[in-house]
Amino acid sequence: MFLIDIVALLMVVIGLVFFVAGTLGLLRFTDDLTRLHALTKADNLGLGFVLLGMTLLFFNLLVMLKLLLIWVLVIISAATVSHVIGQRAYKQLLHRSESQDDHR
């Protein structure tokens, strides 16, 4: 029981590291596309590890399935939202480079 607690704690801490790294990337990276790259790490791996830790703590099949469902749904929405934001950012990027070409 004690060993499981330690492993669960380790998983949550690893998840938090990914969250911190993702947030840092979101704040420090210079353009929208690289920021998205940082964000997806927090969403997918960070949340994944935290939820893995949670499943070990609860050790109940129903709770495990619910947490797995949450993870899958968050991944799907994160990927879709990233796709939409990415398209918008890419269009703005194209627009900007076109207007720079005009100035030359």
Partner: protein, 308 residues
């Protein structure tokens, strides 16, 4: 845990201040959404999961979507600089907060509260979950008026002026289409689950209505993003169809029909016969869920210009 609570309290005040006192409107909206998410965490910490669910779904999610849609229709990005009067008026919330703090300290300990009264009568209320018992039975009158307020909000939005055309960007690819094909039925299913669960656990009409509204709004956005300006706006027309508009009023009507029946049968206005209370509450909640979902979605989509 006290450290977490203190951090949460401090962050929420800072986020609220930033939301009110930044001149960048987009930042203000994002801060409002963050404020809603943090507030729902506060409700979780106060052991109020019902309120947390409603706050995160309506306060952060739908209100945030409404504000973002409004922002896309405004042709400005920055609010006017705060006047001296606005700065001086900051003293009012500070005084109010101080007064609340003082009154909190002078409360009777332990506070008597109404929870004994609620729990002693729960077997007669028709549901097992105390929050639903309060909302749909003991204080059903308040909940009915909340539905009326939603109608009022819709009327106020209409009175502000014509709903403008949607300014969404046209997107490439089918990612959003497949996303909505997965999510819209799932949201409807979860809305049904949350509604049914309200009888014995956190959940109920407002949370379910917010989820269903999200399904409508998602379908609407995806339709707009795929088709752009040439869009026939099927979802919007469906929501504003006269037959569907009857459902907007369904929650309020159900409340008053049941309320009047209670009056005639001698249980008082909005009193239920204990034997039928459970079924009546479920019927009212189903009608209310559709009302809430449709009105919230109508607030988001607007009537739009006529395409006929």
């Amino acid at each position: 845990m006290i450290i977490v609570d203190l951090l949460l309290a401090l962050t929420i005040v800072l986020v609220a201040a930033r939301c009110l006192y930044t001149s960048n409107l987009a930042e203000s909206v994002v801060m409002f959404i963050v404020f809603g998410l943090l507030l729902s965490l506060v409700w979780v910490r106060l052991y109020a999961p019902d309120t947390a669910l409603a706050e995160v779904a309506i306060g952060a999610g739908l209100a945030g979507a409404l504000l973002l849609a409004t922002l896309s229709q405004l042709h400005l990005t920055h609010a006017a600089k705060a006047t001296a009067m606005a700065r001086i008026s900051l003293i009012i919330p500070v005084l109010l907060g101080g007064a609340l703090g003082v009154s909190l300290l002078s409360l009777v300990q332990p506070a008597p509260g109404l929870s004994d009264l609620v729990m002693n009568n729960i077997t007669q209320s028709g549901v097992e979950h105390p929050v639903t018992a309060v909302l749909l039975n003991y204080r059903a009158w308040d909940t009915a008026l909340e539905l009326a307020i939603l109608m009022w909000a819709w009327a106020a939005q209409r009175a502000l002026g014509p709903n403008l055309a949607w300014h969404g960007v046209r997107l490439q690819g089918l990612v959003l289409v497949y996303f909505s094909r997965l999510m819209v039925p799932l949201l409807a299913l979860v809305a049904g689950y949350v509604l049914w669960q309200g009888a014995y656990a956190p959940g109920g009409a407002f949370q379910a209505g917010a989820l269903l509204a999200t399904a409508f709004i998602l379908a609407f956005i995806v339709q707009q993003a795929q088709l752009g300006q040439a869009n026939p706006a099927v979802i919007r027309r469906f929501i504003h169809h006269w037959a569907v508009k009857l459902l907007w009023l369904g929650g309020l009507l159900a409340f008053f029909v049941v309320g009047l029946a209670g009056l005639l049968l001698g249980y008082g206005f909005m009193g239920y016969a204990p034997a039928y209370a459970g079924a009546l509450i479920l019927a009212i909640e189903i009608a209310a869920t559709f009302s809430i979902a449709l009105i919230l979605a109508a607030l988001f989509t607007g009537e739009g210009r006529r395409y006929e």
